[in-house]
Every structure is written in structure tokens, then in C-alpha cells.
């Protein structure tokens, strides 16, 4: 697991629940790690254990915690960077959905060793979309759901996102775009504000 992902998760836990629970979690892992470095790589099993432990300590189901994490990535000022990079994907929500197919490629351009699951999007018409990622771990589904809902708010769109299981494994989501311009959205200036 790339350190950037773990550090984003750390930022989520710290901002939502405080520094003390995070410090206790890292110590509880007993992995000889004092802090996670964003540019290092960590064992996937360790990352999975971190998520399970966090959910246990905070008394939340894994899924709910991961979905909150996905929301945090877009909605919280601390991860404005992630929101901006996602907003570069499209001028409206439909455009953004289509850009998800390029997401892993875009991320690779910026950080070559950060490998995200490949996403494929099928447009069924009438605002219905099916998202599928064959190589994604199951934890990816709630994170992506949270992120897609938060991005809809960001664009001012109204959507329904639902996980739909499938026999072939991987992650399947059903997305229904009810209204592309439901609210004002947060706006997006191409130029980054100074500082």
C-alpha cells in the first residue's frame, strides 16, 4: 500500500477523531513504525489491519468508516488537494464520471509508483451508470462510494450510488445521476489560490 494512501487515512482519522486515537492505533499495530511516510510503501496486510483496528477502536463498522474516509477525501479542507485533482477530471459530474477511467493513469503521471485499481464505466443511458473494477480489493467499494457522493455535492449534482455485488468479485457500483445541476456546488478555479 502506498504511503500516500495511508497518510490520507491518517489525516482522516486525525481530523475526525483527534491525534490521540491515531497515536494509540499506530502503537497498537506494534509494527515498529512510529509514523507513516507518504513516499514509502507499506505491506497491504498492515494497511488492512490498520483499517480493522481503527474501526474497532472507534466502534464503527469497517464499511461505514471507509465510506467516511471517501467523503473526507473530497469534502474536508485538509484534503483539498485530492478534491482539486479529481475536479481536474471534468467540467461537470458526467464528465468527471467518465474521467474515472483515466484516474489510475492520471495518478501514475503524478506519482509513478502509486498504482490505483483500473476503473471501467458503462453508460446505460438515462443517467444510469455501472462502475466496475476487477482488480480492486473489496475495501475500495465503500471508499469510492463515499468519494462519488461527495463529488456529486461538490459539482452540485444529485446522485444515488449503490454497491451491487457480483459473482466475479471486484467492485461493482450502480450510479444514477438524478440531476446534474441540483445545487450550486463548490466551484472550481483552475488556478490554485496562492499559499
Amino acid at each position: 500500500m502506498h504511503g500516500l494512501v495511508i497518510c490520507a487515512f491518517e489525516s482522516f482519522v486525525r481530523h475526525s477523531y483527534g491525534a490521540a486515537p491515531w497515536a494509540a492505533l499506530v502503537e497498537g499495530l506494534d509494527a515498529g513504525i512510529e509514523r507513516f511516510e507518504p513516499m514509502f510503501h507499506y505491506d497491504d496486510a498492515l494497511a488492512a489491519r490498520l483499517v480493522r483496528e481503527t474501526a474497532r477502536v472507534l466502534g464503527k463498522p469497517d464499511e461505514a468508516l471507509l465510506e467516511d474516509f471517501g467523503t473526507f477525501l473530497v469534502a474536508h479542507p485538509a484534503s483539498e488537494r485530492v478534491r482539486r485533482l479529481l475536479r481536474f477530471g471534468g467540467v461537470d459530474y458526467e464528465d468527471f464520471l467518465a474521467s474515472l477511467e483515466d484516474l489510475s493513469g492520471r495518478v501514475c503521471l503524478a506519482v509513478p509508483d502509486l498504482v490505483l485499481p483500473e476503473i471501467s464505466l458503462t453508460e446505460l443511458g438515462g443517467g444510469d451508470y455501472r462502475l466496475h473494477s476487477a482488480d480492486a480489493p473489496p475495501e475500495f467499494a465503500p471508499v469510492l462510494s463515499g468519494l462519488l457522493r461527495a463529488m456529486a455535492d461538490d459539482y452540485g449534482a444529485l446522485v444515488l450510488v449503490e454497491e451491487t455485488g457480483a459473482e466475479d468479485g471486484g467492485v461493482h457500483l450502480a450510479i444514477r445521476l438524478l440531476e446534474a445541476a441540483f445545487a450550486r456546488g463548490r466551484g472550481f478555479a483552475l488556478a490554485q489560490r496562492a499559499g
Binding site: 485533482l85 492520471r106 488556478a191
Partner: protein, 344 residues
């Protein structure tokens, strides 16, 4: 030629393909401008203005008219806006059919990052095929990645400085350093483990440095370190505490006769000449010893001072000698002894 029939494109189609283009007539007056030019000149008035009043052509230098530029179809045109920032632009110009004028397509080139902020451009201001958005994305992502790398570097730099400050070994000889020695003494005293402290000072080392040079001196020090390690057990500590000063801690070894035997053997071995090229370096050593059992409540600083004093008595007695601190009282105090006392 087949496949090369002229195609007619209306202004709306051109605006979509090239949001930052303009058409100027034979007199250089702009007759149509793409939507982005409206953002660059928010006060309006682009259509109807003279091309050269809005833009300054930098290259090709000798271009006096748009026709000049258009005739160089395919060549890049470098321009600047006649605005306070003199915003740089690049363009490509082609002549239109039947004297309808010239079409100029513009772009910000590498200055796009600033221009996007200056003219408050949005994603929809760029053609779908334009890679500007991808470039802006990359600029931002790279800056973020660089910021993380820089933070990591700063942390590593700090960690390195800390590690150096907390180093426990002497870089030349690999022996323990003063800090490690202090920690050992503290630990032994806290646990009431009996030990003997040996303070060893090389004799004639300065002469080796002076006559054979520092390389020979370093070689001698490395040899000394090797011998001291060979003559001690793994639980003992050998520390280099000064240029040619060493302190050895013998854990649970307090038998006086054994300590004297060890000290004398160490001196004998140190007196063996060290070959340096075709020359030989010869040194000896003086030793002061003190046992922790001499004290009701041993203290590291006091023991170090007492071992130092015993050492100076050894020096006084003619070098290559071994002295126990409690014997030092009986020895006649000489000038070196006075020096040691004054130092304490």
C-alpha cells in the same frame, strides 16, 4: 486530389475547436474572435479592433502584416498581449480562401499557469482535445508530490543530525565514544555492578604524528583499538575519549592482580612496533586504574577523575607504568600529578 476537398466551417464550429482563435481581414481588422478572447479582453471591443493594436508580434521579427505571418504557414508565431503583464502567447496563422483574411489560433504556451489565474479561465475554456487541463493537473500534482518529498527530506535530514548527535561510537576506531561510556558507567553504578575503570593514555603518540604524519597516527590508533578489543572480553567496554586517550570498563572484574596482569599485557602489546610503509611507529602507554569497590557510593565523574590521577602518577613514574588510584596517594606527587590535581 481526393480527400482534400475544402471544408466549410461556421464560426460556432471554429469556436468549439479553437476557443482562442480570431479572424482578421486583409486590413488587419479583427472580424471574429473565439470566446476565450472575450475573457482576455473583458471590456470587449476585440471585434473591430486592429490586430496589431492588441498584439505585439515578437517573432518573426520582420513581420509587418498578418499576410506576412500567414504566408509562413506552419511556423510558430510568438506574440505578447499589449496588456500590463505583456502576457506571452504563441500562435499559428493560415490565410483564408479568396482573400477573406487570416485565421490566427492562439495559445498561452508555457505561460498558461499564470494566464489561467490572470484571466480566470475554466476547464470549459479549453478545447476538448487541448491538453492544457492535463498539464495544469500535472503541475499541481507534481507540486504536491514535490512538497511531500521535501518534507521527507527535511525529516531525514533532522533524523541524521539526531543520529549523529546520539552516535555511540568513535568513527575512526569504531570503539565506543564518550557518550556510550557515560551510559555504561551510569548503568553499572545504578545496578551496583562492581567494575574496574582503566584510563589509558598513549605515550610517544605525538611523536608518531609529528614525524610520520597523521596517516601513521590514524593507523596506530586503529591498531591500538584492535589490541584493546583483543585484550578485553565482550562484556567490557573500550572507549576512545580523546585523541590518544582511552577508557576501559571491566565489568565484574575487580581482582587487583588480574587487572595489573591485563594492564601490563596491554602495554607490552602496544609497545610492539606498527609498520607504516618502510618505517615503524613505536608507542607505549600509561595506565591508571580504579575499582568501584573503593567507594561506598561510586560516582562516574569522581571515578574518572581518580583514574585520571592514577594515570598521571604512572606518567610521572616514567611511562609504560600501571598505577591503582589508592596507591597513587602513597606515590610521591610530581609535576604531572599536580597538573592532574589542578585539572580536577
Amino acid at each position: 486530389m481526393r480527400g482534400e476537398l475544402p471544408i466549410g466551417l461556421g464560426p460556432a464550429a471554429l469556436d468549439r475547436l479553437m476557443p482562442m482563435h480570431l479572424v482578421a481581414d486583409g486590413d488587419g481588422v479583427i472580424t471574429h474572435a473565439g470566446p476565450v478572447l472575450g475573457k482576455i479582453f473583458p471590456a470587449g471591443g476585440v471585434v473591430g479592433a486592429r490586430f496589431f493594436d492588441l498584439f505585439e508580434v515578437r517573432r518573426p521579427r520582420q513581420a509587418a502584416s498578418l499576410d506576412d505571418i500567414a504566408r509562413r504557414a506552419g511556423r510558430k508565431v510568438q506574440l505578447r498581449l499589449r496588456d500590463p503583464d505583456r502576457t506571452p502567447l504563441i500562435g499559428a496563422a493560415v490565410p483564408l480562401e479568396a482573400g477573406q483574411g487570416v485565421l490566427v489560433n492562439l495559445s498561452f504556451g508555457i505561460a498558461v499557469v499564470d494566464a489561467v489565474a490572470r484571466f480566470n479561465l475554466a476547464g470549459s475554456d479549453f478545447a476538448a482535445t487541448d491538453l492544457t487541463l492535463e498539464m495544469l493537473y500535472l503541475v499541481e500534482a507534481k507540486s504536491a508530490a514535490m512538497a511531500e518529498s521535501r518534507k521527507l527530506n527535511e525529516r531525514l535530514h533532522g533524523a541524521k543530525a539526531t543520529a549523529e548527535a546520539e552516535a555511540r561510537s568513535d568513527t575512526l576506531t569504531g570503539l565506543s565514544n564518550r557518550r556510550a561510556l557515560d551510559q555504561t558507567l551510569e548503568r553499572l553504578i545504578a545496578r551496583a555492578v562492581p567494575f574496574t575503570l582503566m584510563h589509558l593514555d598513549l605515550d610517544f603518540f605525538k611523536q608518531v604524528n609529528d614525524t610520520l604524519g597523521h596517516a601513521a597516527g590514524d593507523l596506530v590508533l586503529t591498531e591500538v583499538a584492535r589490541i584493546l578489543c583483543e585484550e578485553t572480553r565482550s562484556e567490557d567496554v573500550v572507549a576512545r575519549v580523546g585523541g590518544d586517550e582511552f577508557v576501559l570498563v571491566f565489568t565484574r572484574l575487580i581482582e587487583r592482580s588480574r587487572m595489573v596482569a591485563i594492564a601490563e599485557r596491554v602495554i607490552l602489546r602496544l609497545e610492539e612496533p606498527v609498520r607504516f610503509g618502510d618505517r615503524e611507529a613505536r608507542i607505549s602507554a600509561s595506565i591508571g586504574l580504579v575499582s568501584s569497590l573503593n567507594y561506598d557510593r561510586p560516582e562516574a565523574t569522581r571515578m574518572m577523575r581518580d583514574a585520571d590521577m592514577a594515570l598521571y602518577v604512572s606518567k610521572d613514574r616514567g611511562r609504560g607504568r600501571v598505577t591503582f588510584f589508592d596507591e597513587a596517594h602513597q606515590a610521591k606527587a610530581g609535576p604531572a600529578m599536580d597538573a592532574a590535581l589542578n585539572r580536577g
